[in-house]
């Protein structure tokens, strides 16, 4: 068994923290960026001892930050009050522009699937209905789009 020598975690934070914050701002907007980075760093620390190699740690931190931004976005969608829906949709709970910018590089089909799943917050059955495909195919399309986003970053 080979022993992986990982750098002290805080050396990574001090080297890359500023660019992760900039990355989070691009994904989620100014208002939520610090929360996303805080969550991302804790996730990274939890996973750190399980890393099997010390290569590409910066890219790995970007991916963890992207995932944290997507999860935070989903959580905020869920927190929107469902009763008493305002006539004009309010956008102050998430930044639609940032989400669209995040998914812009993807093909049409992938973007549509992500919007249905994360912006309209539909479950996979409902996404499948709208796209006229099976639920398994809907899940596959969303997860493959999320994977593509993670692999693209850092841009």
């Amino acid at each position: 068994m080979t022993t992986v020598v990982l750098p002290p975690f805080w050396s990574l934070v001090e080297a890359h923290g500023d660019e992760l914050l900039a990355h989070a701002r691009r994904l989620t907007g100014e208002q939520h960026a610090e929360d996303v980075v805080q969550d991302a760093l804790l996730r990274a620390l939890r996973a750190y001892p399980r890393l099997r190699h010390a290569d590409h740690l910066r890219a790995w931190l970007y991916r963890v930050t992207t995932t944290a931004a997507i999860d935070a976005h989903r959580a905020r969608r869920r927190e929107l009050p469902t009763d008493d829906v305002p006539a004009v949709p309010t956008h102050d709970s998430y930044d639609e522009g940032a989400f669209e910018a995040l998914i812009a590089p993807l093909p049409d089909g992938a973007r549509t699937a992500l919007r249905l799943r994360f912006v309209e917050d539909l479950d996979y059955e409902a996404v499948a209905d709208r796209l006229d495909i099976s639920a398994a195919a809907a899940r596959q399309r969303v997860s493959s789009a999320v994977r593509t986003l993670r692999e693209r970053l850092p841009a």
């Binding site: 002290p8 975690f9 805080w10 050396s11 500023d18 900039a22 804790l42 939890r46 001892p49």
Partner: protein
């Protein structure tokens, strides 16, 4: 790019400590003998670095023994900071702080540093020979000197209180000027 705010870094470090996610915590302290890097594990302080030692090297050395989940936090090490700050203002003895000699592999060197930490309080001094005797081998004064020269926890494990029997101030890992300053602070600078 904007650096991460200190408040965010402190929040991450405190949450990580609460969750049991860290192997060690470090803090940077300004003192009259320069900036110190203090690294503490679950069982106590494992490493004190002087400012000319590259931080990455010091932290990597600790990571090699305790693990790589190392975070910085002033608030998590508040007691350590307060104790050291008081010491540099002439109050108390950092001897009260727990230490962990995990970075010292050789048993005799470890025994030397344990004896030094436990027995030689501020205001006292000891010779290398007498220290070797306390550690169980009166003839091993050279090994005692090596143990002091490689002490990973200077100041808290007080190798500055060990003097040559031939007189004078002797050597010090952090340089003789620092040794002199610490002994002067403790009122035990030899004439």
């Amino acid at each position: 790019m904007t650096p991460l705010p200190d408040s965010l870094l402190e929040a991450v470090a405190s949450a990580a400590v609460r969750e049991g996610l860290v192997d060690a915590v470090f803090t940077r302290l300004r003192t009259p003998i320069g900036r110190l890097l203090v690294v503490q594990g679950e069982n106590g302080i494992v490493r004190v670095g002087f400012e000319e030692e590259p931080e990455d090297h010091v932290l990597a050395e600790v990571a090699g023994h305790l693990g790589s989940r190392i975070v910085a936090s002033d608030s998590e090490l508040a007691l350590t900071r307060d104790t050291l700050e008081a010491y540099f203002e002439g109050e108390g003895d950092p001897h009260a702080l727990p230490v962990d000699l995990a970075l010292v592999a050789a048993p005799f060197r470890r025994a030397v540093l344990e004896a030094l930490h436990d027995d030689i309080l501020a205001g006292q001094v000891v010779t290398y020979g007498a220290l070797a005797e306390r550690a169980g081998n009166p003839r091993a004064y050279r090994a005692a000197a090596t143990a002091c020269a490689r002490n990973p926890i200077p100041i808290v494990v007080p190798c500055h209180r060990v003097l040559p029997s031939s007189g004078g101030i002797g050597r010090y890992g952090g340089g003789p000027e620092r040794k002199r300053a610490l002994l002067e602070l403790e009122g035990s600078l030899p004439a």
